[in-house]
């Protein structure tokens, strides 16, 4: 095992131990998409009937992306706590790779996201979701990459602001247009023309379209755009996170 993977594994194990010691947030995080699926899903039936197909095949991909974004974007809050207690500085004075300090935390966020995604998919299948195994795997992989991007960005933002009071409104500022313009809850095709054009500028909308396309087995140009944006966002966020861990003046 290379030094980088060994170091990031040590950080991951430490983070996982701390999370499992305080499982309230893990349980709350898992409960949220289940409630959406059970309580919001039935409301979609008359709307989705216009598009054809099972309502959960439409809705589960949106919920997956929502999980990937919202769960991961709050990962940075715990990092601020660690910074305040001197943990980050203690880690930065060891010879460990700076990127390993970030990736160890990303592994924890991705594991949590994977478990939540699997619960969501299994529940969707139980409720009648109609998707191929390959499509589900591709959709979950895209979700994990997007979640990784959001977690990396959240960690970078946390070490840049070093304040929960600053970070919370910044996340809200970013999340609101993402929620409204990415078609997470309902496809943007239901909206007016100008709203659809506006949503074309929202990268997450293309990721949502790609995850839906994967579930429906439509491997067209929307899939290409979605995959492209996911990879680009992931690379950009990891670069940002790593550079902040290098430069961070804790």
């Amino acid at each position: 095992m290379s030094t980088f993977f060994r170091e990031s594994w040590i950080v991951f194990n430490r983070q996982l131990r701390m999370n499992l010691r305080n499982p309230a947030w893990v349980i709350i995080g898992m409960l949220q998409p289940v409630l959406y699926l059970l309580l919001f899903g039935p409301l979609l039936e008359p709307v989705i009937a216009q598009l054809g197909g099972n309502k959960y095949t439409w809705f589960v991909p949106g919920m997956l992306v929502q999980l990937g974004i919202f769960g991961a974007f709050f990962a940075g809050f715990s990092l601020i706590g660690e910074w305040r207690e001197g943990v980050i500085e203690a880690e930065r004075v060891t010879p460990a790779h700076r990127s390993a300090l970030l990736f160890g935390r990303l592994y924890r966020d991705l594991l949590q996201l994977l478990v939540q995604a699997l619960i969501l998919v299994v529940l969707g299948l139980v409720l009648g979701m109609d998707a191929s195994f390959g499509g589900i795997v591709l959709g979950v992989v895209l979700t994990l990459m997007l979640g990784g991007a959001c977690a990396a960005a959240s960690n970078a933002l946390a070490l840049t602001t070093k304040s929960e009071d600053v970070m919370a409104p910044v996340i809200n500022l970013v999340m609101m247009p993402v929620l409204l313009l990415s078609g997470i809850l309902l496809p943007m095709t239901f909206g007016k023309e100008w709203l659809q054009r506006l949503s074309d500028f929202m990268p997450i909308k293309h990721v949502v379209d790609a995850v839906r396309a994967a579930f429906f087995g439509d491997y067209d140009s929307s899939m290409l755009w979605g995959v492209g944006w996911t990879v680009a966002l992931f690379a950009l966020a990891v670069w940002w996170g790593t550079s902040v861990f290098k430069k961070e003046n804790a």
């Binding site: 430490r14 701390m18 207690e85 943990v87 930065r92 060891t94």
Partner: protein, 344 residues
């Protein structure tokens, strides 16, 4: 073990028109030999922590060079980190994790196997009086226990050089004295060179072989505590005579070994370098001159006297000024400022 030449650190604070440069460290030269315990003394905002952060590779110097344990802090940062232990003033463990887990994980980040880290961790817990606290969370520990745990973290990989940043700040007097013994043991039992920053005069006096005084980002003195006191301030000798006519004779005799003699009633006072050697001769001279003394008092100078002589203000006044105007580039206030360079 440490060799620094012309270390400079400049921060930028504020935005727009409020933006200004803060020269936190202005050309620091430092030499620390293997096995030394060096106390880095100065008020808040003097540049202690900024210098320490440059030496521990957490902050890239704006200018100047430094080698630590034989490695350059700018170009061989990873080798420096392997060789040093660091105990920051804010701590190093997460309050909600088990103490033993934190120490072992930290050791593993230095490349130790889990087995070796556990063995070394248990040994350190024993030495630092942390027995029975392996499965205790730092949030449930006393201040003294937490600081000893921080020291265990810093020592887990057996470094040859240990940096301690204000190790006893916030501790009660009993816990401070207890921690001093453990810091003294770092050299005697662990064989480590120790570089500690402090703004406590008694701490520097009690622990350090040599004291380096920094003020406003510049080194103003470097020597043993005794030499600094003797050379800069001298001992205060206070002679009380029994009759008015003896005052002038006593003043003249004292003036032969002191340059700043003062008279107040029957008291004649003056600073004398190494009074232990000079005073017996003075007493003989006074006795031969027929002067009978009511009392004699020799007061050893404090490091605050040294600081006052060197900088024109007492250390406590300097602290109050630094705390008041916040014009530092130092200590925990740092996150508000932007350094010129960042660590690699």
């Amino acid at each position: 073990m440490i060799e620094a030449r012309g270390l400079v650190q400049t921060f930028h604070t504020g935005q727009g028109k409020q933006k200004r440069e803060v020269h936190a460290v202005r050309g620091v030269d430092l030499d620390v030999a293997e096995g030394e315990v060096v106390g880095f003394l100065g008020p808040n905002g003097a540049g202690k922590t900024t210098t320490l952060r440059m030496l521990t590779t957490l902050l890239r110097p704006t200018a100047g060079t430094a080698t630590v344990a034989g490695f350059d802090v700018a170009t061989q940062a990873v080798d420096v980190r392997r060789s040093i232990g660091y105990c920051s003033q804010v701590g190093s463990t997460f309050s909600g994790a088990y103490a033993g887990d934190e120490v072992v994980d930290h050791g593993m980040l230095y490349g130790m196997s889990k087995k070796a880290a556990v063995a070394k961790g248990e040994e350190l817990f024993g030495k630092l009086q942390l027995e029975g606290l392996w499965r205790r969370m730092p949030k449930n520990m006393s201040g003294g226990q937490k600081r000893r745990l921080d020291i265990a973290m810093a020592l887990i990989h057996s470094p040859s050089l240990v940096f301690l940043d204000e190790p006893t700040t916030g501790l009660d007097p009993q816990a401070r004295i207890n921690l001093w013994q453990h810091i003294a043991d770092l050299r005697t039992k662990e064989g480590a060179t120790v570089f500690l920053t402090t703004h406590y005069l008694d701490e520097a006096d009690a622990l350090a072989d040599r004291i380096v005084i920094i003020d406003k980002g510049e080194i103003v003195a470097s020597d043993t505590a005794d030499n600094l006191k003797a050379a800069v301030a001298g001992d205060l000798v206070d002679l009380e005579v029994s009759a008015d006519e003896q005052v002038a004779i006593t003043r003249d005799k004292l003036a032969s070994i002191s340059s700043d003699v003062e008279v107040e009633g029957h008291h004649v006072r003056g600073r004398v370098a190494r009074a232990g050697k000079a005073v017996p001769g003075l007493l003989r001279d006074l006795d031969n001159a027929g002067v009978s003394l009511e009392s004699i008092e020799v007061v050893r100078p404090t490091l605050d006297d040294v600081f006052l002589t060197l900088t024109g203000r007492s250390l406590r006044d300097a602290e109050a000024a630094a705390d008041g105007d916040g014009a530092a580039g130092d200590d925990a206030a740092q996150p508000a400022a932007t350094p010129e360079g960042a660590s690699a």
